[in-house]
Amino acid sequence: MAGYLDKLGKDITRWRASGLVDAATATALEADARAHHRAGFSFGSVLMILAATLFGAALLLAIAANWEAIPRLVRVGGIFAVLIVGYAGGAFAKGRGHHAIAEGLWLVAAVAFGGGIALIGQMYHLSGDEADALFVWALGTAFAAAGLRSGPLTAGAVLLAGSWMAFVFGDGGPGRDIPVGYLVFAVALWAISLWTASVAARHLILLSLMLFVVLLYIEDELLYVPMLLAALSVAIVVFTSQRPVLADRVSGLGDGLAVQGLLGFIAGMSIVQAELYEGPYFLPVAIVVFAGIVGALLLAGRDNRALRWLAYAGFIFELGFVYLTLLDTMLGTAGFFFMAGLLLALLAWLISRIEKRLAAPEAGEGA
């Protein structure tokens, strides 16, 4: 978000030039923005998390190599030691104010738990238990995240739980093909993410739920499933635009919730469109997609840069899709585009009239 500081700097310079603020206030404002900004993002933490991920990967590979030089009981003992040192050492570091080190150690310990499960599978030559192994790993990591109030561990638990869900879908077999339990898991992880204040985890949960819908559709081919996703997503965008304060309190995602809503709409409608693209419903579906994207832009796009970019991308993608698929004939498609363009131009004209009448002296934000 360096862009925010740049933009604010320009604004402050302009306010200063027009006499709105004096030099002292301008400096104070800028200093405050910078100080506040730095607190939100730390290269130290990010690099520590990346380092912990590398250590974890090294540990898992070392287990996979099944190196005989180390007796396996020693390997099991090593894993137990990493668990104790990682969790307790991280807690100790946290107490001393070394947050990045704490999160790094906890992450290594959580990976070691998964490594332990893999090691047992190897010791006893277990096969066909990957789904159970992932599930136990995800559950253990979620437990650690809740206990230690760790954001990175929460995100890790979501990734593991999502992998379990995708694995069960992929595994197939009678009687165990739809991991409905994932929905319960997702709700629990959502609650944990509120406790650990992990925005990333909540975004990942929403993405994983979209993946759930996609996989559910692939499994059962019931068209109402993606339709339901699209409808729910529309409701989310409308909700965030009408009750932004309440929406933020429930989700803790700020602007991000509307972006997820638009993404869910695009994901759901993409499936519907892919399914119905031959036949009489192609045109209505395309109209719904265009209307949804433009609607989201109008409802939630004003102060939401990410949503605007997603809307532009979705719009261009849809345009390209319709262009390449064609409604019967080139002439028909040209007519559709012409009518849609006319409608948008009319809408643009209406909106600018209303904006002028309200005389809202807001500066246009560009992109």
Partner: protein
């Protein structure tokens, strides 16, 4: 300091202890099968060679990995639909010491009480409908043999040429656990309890 941050180290130790407990209980339950389970000797059968070695384990098939349909009791011949993918297979020791499947059933062990030289082993089938299947594929959770990196190749090649056997421990619930691996009559690996 908040209450949570004061309690953080005890909480961390509890987290570590719970996770260690989970791992330890997994080890104990497996070791229990090895220790107390009845030992059966199974004929190893080579599987599709392109699929044999994935990373650090050898894929292993067994004589009992695909069972003729006639062995199964109580199959709904009309629909052929399987509600419960769990399969119980009754094994009996043959004259050569190798155990063979004598009967099988979905969802529960075969109705007759097993005799002294018989053992029920539990597996799952991957097919959802057996109306057309003559052979039914069953997995027992013992289809992999993990080896130190690089040691899989000779076994992979040997599997296609000469008979291998696997000693497997089976507990009362039918759970199977690999115990020892034989190249013909020669022992190549024996698993310790822990």
């Amino acid at each position: 300091m908040t209450r949570h941050s004061r309690l953080l180290i005890p909480i961390a130790i509890i987290v570590a202890a719970v996770q260690i407990g989970v791992l330890a209980s997994m080890i104990m339950s497996r070791a229990a099968i090895l220790r107390d389970g009845r030992e059966v000797l199974l004929e190893v059968r080579p599987v599709d060679p392109r699929d044999l070695l994935r990373g650090d384990y050898v894929r292993i098939g067994y004589e009992i990995s695909s069972l003729p349909r006639e062995l199964f009791e109580g199959i709904d011949a009309e629909s052929g639909k399987i509600d419960d993918p769990t399969v119980f297979v009754r094994l009996e020791a043959g004259d050569d010491g190798l155990w063979q499947a004598v009967s099988a059933r979905f969802g529960a062990p075969p109705a007759a009480t097993p005799e002294a030289d018989q053992v029920d082993i539990r597996g799952t089938t991957l097919i959802g409908n057996i109306s057309r299947a003559q052979l039914i594929a069953v997995d027992y959770g013992i289809e992999r043999f993990y080896l130190p990196e690089g040691e899989g190749k000779p076994i992979e090649e040997g599997l296609g040429e000469r008979p291998f056997r696997m000693a497997v421990a089976v507990d009362d619930s039918g759970s199977a656990q690999i115990k020892a691996f034989y190249d013909g009559d020669e022992l190549i690996y024996r698993e310790p309890l822990y």
